[in-house]
Symmetry: C2
Subunit: 283 residues, 2 copies
């Protein structure tokens, strides 16, 4: 396996990594100037400037859009909210197309407040992705289900393993692998006893649409906002990328770090330079 | 499935639920007085009064000891610590026998600081349980591996699913199901997409040695110390017990709640009365 040294053009920055502290235009300029080849922006950022303007700037900077973050939840406590979320997701597909995203990232929603709890939420997610998939096909915009760590099953996502996400893909779009697949994030999946076989299976199915890195810190202080910089935690990042590449993944390596107390307090250019250094040394 | 109404004799209290705020003797008296049939005490409590005295009181009160909590870690950063932990575990087996515990509960240790990280820790765990199992057989003391939630893979346990724990059992003690099995805790396992088949498989293998309940709270504020009282969270507790009983489990239902900011601040007898009420209404 080749190291990422000298290959920042194969690396992307998820804008959450910089803490969403400034307008998208400034963020995109910084990321391109730092030498990265790609970016994953968030809906609220793109909507603030408009997808047309965002798309124009992205093309001018030559940045690949590795993914558009992220869906509203498919699992919802009531029909009105479910419907509003679905409409937001359909609108987001148009914006994803406008900015040239490689995929629209799906975070599916948790069990909280949903009728029949976990089982009910999982059923709603299956139905909801099926519904959005029909719209996505019309636009040719691939959907990437992101399995989230099991600790988010209540508040954020009832899809919690690669294998579970793969089963959803096979069930909803059995013969359409480029259009419904997975975004695989080390933070969510590194602990999985079935990691090796799951990634291989996802690759074999042609369903891997994205790869996100950060690190898991010992003594994590917050369940959402305390992800670590690559190299500061316990994840075997080179081993993980090896599995991804053996599975045929040739896409970008995207950094996504939520870190309210550490990295979001540092100057953005500093964060980008540490990302660049760590991508080339420990990923 | 029968409700637990009127069957507190089939229910047990893990002493952690009361916050370890008083000597074991007082705790045991409270639990028996409240009408529970069983208790799961912790090593530091039993060691403080001595296993002989603890055993004598437990027998006098007629309390079943559903499990003895818990092993020192099998995964360790260095050989000295690994060996010290193994010796502590062997001593604990003697104490478990002395107090008449139904099993010794194994929390296996996390990946943090261990050579080769997650993979290295999992190998150490396999070897360590194998070593302790030889001692446990001599004493006839069953070992119950407790899979912990994946969010503890760094700091507490690299065994994170029922299926993974079962594979360890089959590998270490293939023909000895009553002596090496699992303690299944809803907090750690409720999210698992393979829950139904995993519990069935564990039951078929004759490996279910314990069942722990609490609840998962929305907006969990602390990764260790914010478990919920049964009924206050999202877990389908009656559904879960149904799976356990379909799998042939006839043992006790043990309440284990770590709750530094809520339940551990209330009077112990109040906590016990709420446990009794919830066991009989929502479990």
């Amino acid at each position: 396996m080749n190291s990422l040294e000298g290959r920042l053009q194969r690396c992307a920055i998820n804008t959450a990594t910089l803490g969403h502290r400034e307008p998208l235009g400034t963020t995109l300029d910084r990321i391109a100037r730092a030498g990265f080849g790609g970016v994953a922006p968030w809906r609220h950022e793109v909507e603030a400037v408009g997808a047309t303007a965002a798309g124009r700037q992205l093309r001018a900077l030559g940045l690949t859009v590795t993914g558009y973050c992220r869906s509203a939840y498919f699992a919802a406590p009531d029909e009105a909210e479910r419907k509003a979320n679905m409409n937001a997701n359909i609108q987001a597909l148009n914006d994803a197309t406008e900015i040239g995203a490689q995929c629209f990232v799906l975070v599916v929603g948790g069990a909280r407040g949903v009728k029949n709890g976990l089982a009910g939420a999982r059923a709603q997610v299956q139905d909801g992705i099926g519904e959005l998939y029909i719209e996505a096909r019309k636009l040719g915009m691939p959907l990437a289900i992101e399995p989230l760590h099991p600790m988010y099953a209540t508040d954020r996502s009832v899809v919690n393993t690669i294998r579970q996400a793969l089963a959803l893909c096979e069930s909803i779009a059995p013969d359409d692998n480029p259009m419904l697949g997975l975004a695989i994030d080390v933070y969510h999946c590194w602990w999985d006893p079935d990691l090796v076989s799951s990634i291989a299976q996802a690759g074999q199915a042609g369903r891997i649409l994205g790869y996100h890195v950060c690190d898991w810190l010992p003594d994590t202080r917050h369940m959402l906002m305390d992800r670590g910089m690559m190299g500061d935690g316990v994840v075997d990042l080179q081993g993980f990328r090896g599995l991804m590449e053996q599975a045929g993944y040739t896409g970008m390596v995207e950094v996504e770090i939520f870190s309210a107390e550490q990295w979001w307090k540092l100057p953005q250019d500093k964060v980008l330079s540490v990302c660049a250094e760590r991508l080339q040394s420990v990923c």
